[in-house]
């Protein structure tokens, strides 16, 4: 069987001291940096990119990849403990992870997301080992119209997860899409809504937005309500750090489904991880018998998106390596690291550099095992962070947000954006408007518009293109079904509200 040959090639290639050390260094740095607000995979990789010039390309790639998926682990830790997401996919983790931490269950939450990350990644690795080249071909059949419809599905999923009615969710998606319009319009090159500021030519900062909407507004709300003074103390006894049997039972299905969703959406360049986690969350809520529990610290609400997110992160390597099509900025960065070394990613990379390709896949397995081993003992340490009195902790968090946002872009305007989104986020919280759908809308807005317009340029203005292509049609039908479902059975929580977030002083 070819699969076993691949596994053998991969592990033979990766079992050298140097590669294992770089793999460890990569996942370790990635995880640590993922925890720091703002400093995600992108910033860490760009800081460590020069190292790859001095080692062989496969070693460099293993390290960079480790940073990439290591950061995914770290990102959910900050989301659970402090409501500080760096990306839309970790924003999803905030929805149920942070309430869990407030209930004194930060330990189990981190434990479960760690295991879900691991399993999601392993799912994608299996996919890589078996059908990587085929999967890559599939990704190429996605045209502009199909991308448009996929994004519609992602946005509808995001809107349907709002807990205060689907109208609020859709409105926030629309606000996000509108904010995504700020900057240079790709199709015409026009600057839109930039108010004459060159610093806005590339749009608003996603990290500043996430930090302002989630992190800063949460700090203000905590201080105003005084909720932190009666916070549930975190137990750091070992048995309270691990999940109970019920958690595990609730997790198995969501993790598996999340892994499948993530692995398939991750193959598509550009959109993978964020859409995957939202769709996984929306899907779990859709099939759940207790949809009202989501957003209050429900276990499937963290494990499904976490599994999906990590599966997508691993699967994103498929188009990058086999087609030379980088899915996102981080992938583009890794691709250029290879190109500097004279390796051209593309359909022939598997044949011409089997050691590199299968070695990388094998390093995913090792890196994820390392992360699992490293993370579980660290849970106690992370949870201990929450035993620091909040009144000492929050000024530090606030400054870390500022430093992190600035470190990513070297632009003080981005820090000013944190300030503005902090205000907006606090007002939204008071008005029961949720930031997560807005964040996805913002990320997908430019892509949605580009693909919509591009599809219509290519079809010479025929709207029928969206229903003539089978992929596009089925995605649109799925979106319609999801909307119909949400309208039919609205998750009415307007009456009971969310006690923990209600601020009345």
């Amino acid at each position: 069987m070819a699969v076993f040959d691949h596994i053998a090639t991969g592990f033979t290639a990766v079992f050298t001291l140097q590669k294992l050390l770089y793999c460890f260094f990569g996942v370790f740095m990635g995880m640590l940096m993922g925890v720091l607000p703002g400093i995600g995979a992108m910033a860490t990789i760009s800081m460590l990119l020069p190292i790859t010039f001095y080692v062989s390309p496969d070693v460099g790639l293993i390290m960079l990849a480790g940073i990439y998926y290591g950061a995914q682990y770290g990102g959910s830790i900050a989301s659970i403990l402090l409501n500080l997401p760096g990306t839309p996919s970790s924003a999803i983790i905030c929805l149920d992870g942070y309430p869990m931490a407030k209930q004194g269950r930060a330990g189990p939450a981190i434990f479960l997301t760690t295991v879900a990350s691991f399993l999601g990644s392993m799912f994608a690795v299996i996919l890589l080992l078996t059908i990587a080249p085929l999967a890559a071909r599939l990704a190429l059949t996605f045209g502009a119209a199909d991308y448009f419809s996929l994004m519609i599905l992602g946005l509808v999923a995001a809107a349907s997860l709002a807990r205060h009615g689907v109208a609020r969710g859709l409105a926030m998606v629309a606000v996000g899409l509108i904010l995504g319009m700020v900057g240079t319009d790709v199709t015409s090159g026009t600057y839109r809504f930039t108010f004459g500021l060159l610093d806005l030519a590339d749009g608003l900062s996603i990290i500043a937005m996430a930090m302002g909407l989630f992190g800063v507004s949460e700090i203000i709300s905590n201080l105003v309500s005084g909720a932190h003074r009666r916070r549930v103390p975190q137990s750091i006894a070992f048995r309270d750090l691990v999940p109970v049997k019920k958690d595990l039972r609730q997790s198995s299905g969501p993790v598996a489904r999340g892994g499948i969703i993530g692995a398939f959406l991750g193959i598509l360049p550009g959109t993978g991880a964020s859409i995957a986690s939202f769709v996984a969350y929306g899907f779990e809520k859709r099939i759940s018998k207790v949809p009202g529990e989501f957003g209050k610290g429900h276990v499937p609400g963290i494990v499904a998106p976490e599994s999906a997110n990590n599966a997508a992160a691993q699967a994103a390597f498929i188009p990058t390596l086999t087609l030379g099509i980088p899915g996102d900025a981080v992938m583009a960065l890794m691709m250029s690291a290879l190109i500097i070394h004279g390796i051209q990613p593309g359909p022939t990379v598997i044949e011409s550099h089997p050691d590199l390709f299968w070695g990388l896949v094998a390093s995913f397995v090792i890196g994820n095992v390392l992360l699992l081993i490293m993370n579980l003992p660290l849970i106690g340490l992370w949870v201990k962070l929450l035993t620091i009195p909040y009144r000492y902790l929050y000024p530090v968090i606030l400054v870390l947000i500022c430093v992190g946002v600035y470190a990513v872009s070297s632009n003080v305007y981005d820090v000013v954006q944190v300030f503005l989104f902090g205000i907006v986020g606090y007002l939204m919280m008071r008005a029961k408007l949720e930031p997560a759908p807005m964040l996805l809308g913002f990320v997908l807005g430019p892509l949605l518009e580009d693909n919509f317009r591009r599809a219509l340029i290519l079809s010479r203005g025929e709207l029928s293109v969206f229903v003539e292509r089978p992929i596009s049609l089925s995605l649109l039908l799925a979106s319609a079904a999801l909307i119909a479902f949400s309208l039919r059975r609205p998750v009415a929580v307007a009456a009971d509200g969310d006690q923990s977030r209600e601020v009345s002083r």
Binding site: M47, A167, R192, L223, P395, L398, Y406, R460, G461
Partner: protein
């Protein structure tokens, strides 16, 4: 609840602003086409929210009024609302003019006073510790080229 009306206003503003850009046609849309659609869409959802909120208010009117009364009973707390935000702004202003360390210290100190129970001493200690921690991590370990002191 102001959510509906405010969003309606925002949507209308976007819709209006979209017309300052070229709208174009479906075959080749101008930069204003999509914002126009989005502005209109947002108006629609905002109207829905306003309706829903109005309905909720009628059905639970008494309860809501009680909440408002208890809300005005306390003095409006400006410290936790203004100081954290001001801290961010201060950081942005000082970072490139005064340098990294002064910006961190000023931001921690400003934010610290948002919580009444924080003593000046505690804030000073946190500020110093944060400055040392962030300088070590970001500047020395990560090698991000911040200027610690700009002068």
């Amino acid at each position: 609840m102001l959510a509906g009306p405010v969003l309606l206003l925002f949507g209308a503003a976007v819709f209006a602003a979209a017309w300052t850009y070229e709208i174009g046609e479906l075959r080749r849309m101008g930069p204003g086409y999509f914002p126009m659609l989005l502005g209109a869409t947002l108006c629609l959802f905002a109207a829905l929210i306003a309706l829903q909120d109005a309905k909720d208010r009628i059905s639970s009117g008494r309860r809501a009024r009680r909440t408002i009364r208890s809300g005005t009973g306390n003095r409006f707390q400006w410290r936790p609302r203004i100081l954290p935000l001001f801290a961010i702004l201060l950081f942005a202003m000082l970072l490139e003019t005064a340098g990294f360390v002064p910006a961190v210290i000023a931001a921690v100190a400003t934010a610290g006073f948002a919580e009444r129970s924080n003593s000046s001493l505690a804030i000073a200690v946190i500020a110093a510790a944060t400055a040392i921690f962030t300088s070590t991590v970001f500047v020395y370990l990560l090698g991000i080229p911040f200027r610690l002191f700009a002068v």
